[in-house]
Symmetry: C2
Amino acid sequence: MKSLAEARDILFNRFNGVEAKGVEMLPVPEAVRRILAEPVTARTSSPGFHSAAMDGIAVRAANTFGAHENAPKIFIANQDAFYVNTGHVLPSGTDAVIMIENIQELEDGKIRIEAPAFPWQNVRKIGEDIVATELLFPRNHQITPFCIGALLSGGIFSVPVRKKPLIAVIPTGSELVDWRFTDKKELEPGQVFESNSYVLMAMAEALGARSKRYETRTDDIEIIKAAAAEAAGGEADMVLILGGSSAGSRDYAKHVISELGEILLHGVTMMPGKPIVLGVIEGKPVFGIPGYPVSAILAFEQFVGALICRMLGQPETERQQLQVELSRKVASKLGVEEFLRVKLGEVGGRVVATPLSRGAGTITSLTRADGIIRIPNHIEGLKEQVPVTAELLKPLSHIRKTIVSVGSHDNTLDVLADELRARFGDLTLSSSHVGSMGGIMAVKKGGCHIAGTHLLDTTDGSYNVSYIKKHLSAVPVRLIHLVLRDQGLMVPAGNPKSVCGIADLCRKDIRFINRQAGSGTRILLDFKLNQLQISPDRVCGYDNEEFTHMSVAAGILSGAADVGLGIMAAANALGLDFIPVVTEQYDLIIPAAYFDSVPIQRLLETISADSFKQRVAALGGYNTENTGREIKL
Amino acid sequence: MKSLAEARDILFNRFNGVEAKGVEMLPVPEAVRRILAEPVTARTSSPGFHSAAMDGIAVRAANTFGAHENAPKIFIANQDAFYVNTGHVLPSGTDAVIMIENIQELEDGKIRIEAPAFPWQNVRKIGEDIVATELLFPRNHQITPFCIGALLSGGIFSVPVRKKPLIAVIPTGSELVDWRFTDKKELEPGQVFESNSYVLMAMAEALGARSKRYETRTDDIEIIKAAAAEAAGGEADMVLILGGSSAGSRDYAKHVISELGEILLHGVTMMPGKPIVLGVIEGKPVFGIPGYPVSAILAFEQFVGALICRMLGQPETERQQLQVELSRKVASKLGVEEFLRVKLGEVGGRVVATPLSRGAGTITSLTRADGIIRIPNHIEGLKEQVPVTAELLKPLSHIRKTIVSVGSHDNTLDVLADELRARFGDLTLSSSHVGSMGGIMAVKKGGCHIAGTHLLDTTDGSYNVSYIKKHLSAVPVRLIHLVLRDQGLMVPAGNPKSVCGIADLCRKDIRFINRQAGSGTRILLDFKLNQLQISPDRVCGYDNEEFTHMSVAAGILSGAADVGLGIMAAANALGLDFIPVVTEQYDLIIPAAYFDSVPIQRLLETISADSFKQRVAALGGYNTENTGREIKL
């Protein structure tokens, strides 16, 4: 296996100097974003004549010399002075324009001036902007909207641009379902909506290529081979075979390429993106693209996208770089270059990076990311709060206007993010879900603007306040109540075992599925069991722990358990029934240092607005009576 | 007149909360770059089932506990262990996958393992990426290629996006010629190709709007009024009236808007862009856009573009900022915010900014610019070599890979720029034309990588070397010969006065037009006159000075003079005849510090290539025999 740098060298050396094939002439206004295939020189000068740059009178400068307040000079209109407006041709014999504000109009068309004009004053000379025959743009120049102005002004109405390279995309995989052909739009277990082809085609098009999608091929090497041969034999400039997400039995791209052509490389020490295959069929670059979406995207960027840019004579697309600090340390494998997706936000003058899911299968780790941190091959990981470079996926101002939320997840945060975006187009709420205690720790370390928590004090049934006093004594904070929410028992649809409440958990015919120790929900369960004087060892499955509401719900859906404790949203997501049993308090901790900032004040304004409360109420399972009220600490 | 900030406030307050009208549903793959009109939540979870994350066997983890090298556990295929590939549904009753590499296959379908599996090992759990009902993207989110993956995976096949705002564009001006209707494609004096409408439409489209162009209206207030009324009364969301480049008689936009609606503002203390008009007709924003191209573009960005972004719920387009140093001081008017266009290049670790033409009519000052420096209202100018912020028009890497050339202009530099770009797609040659001595001064101050000079030593007829010894004693440099070029006499086509050579300049019937003192061409003329023992006072027009080859040529074309000295390219540009009289040497000075850098070596490689020499020879008037040779200093 090669390193990313070695693998790129192998590809670029093999296809060194390969240019996009063909040239097309386009009318200038249609050529924006296209690449010039040839240098373009001006046909006409601009201006094409000496012209007035101001409204006034055109004169011969020499005739004005000596004019003075005490010795004015008199000109006669249409004889030795000519009224002109901006843009007018300078009349023959004149070489200067005196502004209309600086002349005195007398009777009989006489004009008095009291100061001399210097030659070419207020005149735009021929060729001042563009000189006929001069180079307007070299070949490989990308046309911008501004360029249209220079081209048309220089008398150029159509330009030779490189044809867009054609990228053939062949999705493969028997598990894939095409959304266009889905009547029921529901999947059978094992089926997945095919999306990589559409993502990569959009990426190719953003780089100035066009793409052709082949219908999805099932996992049959002969079928895939036929498609690859057709694509490579046709007009395509490159061929992508999608699928084969690992080195197992479904890895057909490698076999197809080696049978039809030549393998350059299989496997690169990058993560995600490792199982990419680089090859050649009929002299054309052919890529075996990994099946996991993040692998597919990163491999595409490093190889396919980079090659498209080269074919078009363009430098590779570049992302702005920024020094950031990780909110927690990240271990990484030696010998692998990892592309870590992170959320970014400016907290207290530092840009804090919170790592997202590192799985290659998690497309949302890219759509949620604000940046990517590359962890080089020779590094075993990155430390917390040490400066490191991130490549930005969003503009810097977006990151500066992001409210960083770290803590427990609740669906009302989604509604809040949407309402905030709707009211204030430039503000973003970015939430990382690390649990209530994780949020408190983030506040302590200065890693967030707000933290959502629902921590029950089992000694008195109160929420959050005692935890803040214990853990955040050194950090002045404010506490804003967001919602009361129902936690409840999730059971299969129809509630086949007629579960009514917590007391049922000790029934012999009931298998429970629990949350991990330390989670807010676990604390809540233990509190409730204690109230009912039910000993945990009487609950069958008490030791069966899951880490998220959703995992508990999934366990029930799959039949592995009969009941679990969680929020209504998780039950709704998987079509489970929900029996509300406890109401808990979910609040936002806000460091006092940020409380009066414009973004936080706008957030609080949004929280207190009726539209937010109405939408939260509509979710079901929430009480918004005191939403937005500050809780005394 | 209002400041830019005040004027923007007036506009945004008046149109506060104005959103793009209407929503359209688009298939997800067609929605890239569009803006969500509503929040989008996932319909299905992804994965929709527990699935194998590796190729191997699926087992119940509890059954593996205690497995050890010395106490292996045996499983039986299809009974308590099931072969799965990546992506397969986890068989019922199993909760872990053991990688195929870590099992031993025995006979009769027996499988031996020597280590326990922990629950959910190598399993992608249901909802790991996307949980049904969760918020995928809030409203006003711009769809990226990555988003396609999340949307399709979440079972969303079409999305509600904001309709593109429609911008009506009405060009006005009797002097304007539309390139589409130009048969001869030649202009009469006073005519100009209309280009602003196409530039601004392309800018609007880049921001996510669409545009409708009205045919050009002549300078007649009733005709313009009718067009504006039609546009404002129709489906357009905004109306732009182009033209009226100053406050003179052609300034119709203001009158039209005040007659049909209301003027919010006329004139902003920005430069270029000052004469913009902001108004309202039928509740819609209407803009009077100045006629000079740079004014039009900058006014568009600050007002029209900014409002388009707001209508789409987007932050304003933002340019990367960079600390740069001006290569020379720039005076600026108090009370005016100037947008100074600059070329940028990294020289010796500093990014040097060279100001381009400041005229509002010079579109090439934008197409050539790498950045814009804003000089605020309250500043009288910027000093040389003091850090100042530039907004980048090109990516940073482009600026880092730019060879900065400052000095005398020669057309072979255009050819060189094109050849360099063709050979090395990521290298750019950026030339500023400040004359030979200006180039030497730029080398002295560390402001360039190369300087083109043609300075004649009149004591011995040699070029450049003595000037380098005199002015650059403190800076080690190398000198590379570029070309020998003809300077000659430019005369009207057909040479009506039968000029043959320098000796003719003292003829009584000949009016000469000269270059400014200190220019290489002036030094050359004086040297030649001296050789012929002609006293300058015998040359009629000797004191008539121009600052560029092109101005001299224009003077001859206009009939103001009969002959001038200059390069063949200037004569060719205006269709003049050219009589070669002198061959001069044009060389490149390269500071030794940069000589061995990759960009300079690639430049030298390009200069020495046959393709460059052939193209230069084809220009006419050049000798490339020693092109690329180093000259000993």
